[in-house]
Amino acid sequence: MSHISKIEVAITDLEALKNACHRLGFEFVEGATTYRWYGRVVEPEKYPLPEGMTVDDLGKCHHAIRVPDADYEIGIVRRNGNYLLLLDYWDSKLKNRVGENGGRLKQAYAIERTLREARRRNFRITETRTEHGIRLTLSA
């Protein structure tokens, strides 16, 4: 062992996000300009908006993701080279499928992004399920 790093995932690659949706059984709606949500902000002090976002920005997006059986959708907003995920957790079915803070979608994105780059660099790859997630082992 040489070193261990922790990484906070930022979504910057739309192709990997599309592959992540495919992995999870979600539908990526390219070019969608709106996404379904509750329609008004409730308890903003308890659920603050993402940095730089205003109430008027909610419901608008550059792309969207549809989650099977969920009433609301995920909005994807391009900002400063990153893609922000906007979703209304009032829909418990959406929350259950996507995970707290979009964790499962970020996980699938990180897997797909890593796999693509690892293949491009000719690593041998194994994917295994662990107690708390997925382990990708890249061997040179």
């Binding site: 790093s5 995932v9 499962r104 890593t114 997630g133």
Partner: protein, 65 residues
């Protein structure tokens, strides 16, 4: 064998561990993953990080002053 182990938790947290590398080359070898996944928020170095060609590099650390 040189390996990069990427643990991606269900809550979206990513942990990258390098194995089989000696010295700081492990940082360079795994940097591409950090660059494409996001921002490195924490790092811990293992004993083998301080090895050069299998020999441990000893450093004197000032304990006071």
């Amino acid at each position: 064998m040189k390996q990069i182990v990427v643990d991606i938790r269900d809550d979206g947290e990513v942990r990258i561990e390098t194995k089989g590398f000696s010295g700081p080359v492990c940082l360079a070898e795994s940097q591409f993953l950090k660059d494409l996944l996001g921002t490195e928020t924490a790092r811990s170095l293992a004993a083998s990080f301080y090895q050069r060609g299998g020999v441990t590099v000893k450093r004197h650390i000032p304990l006071c002053g």
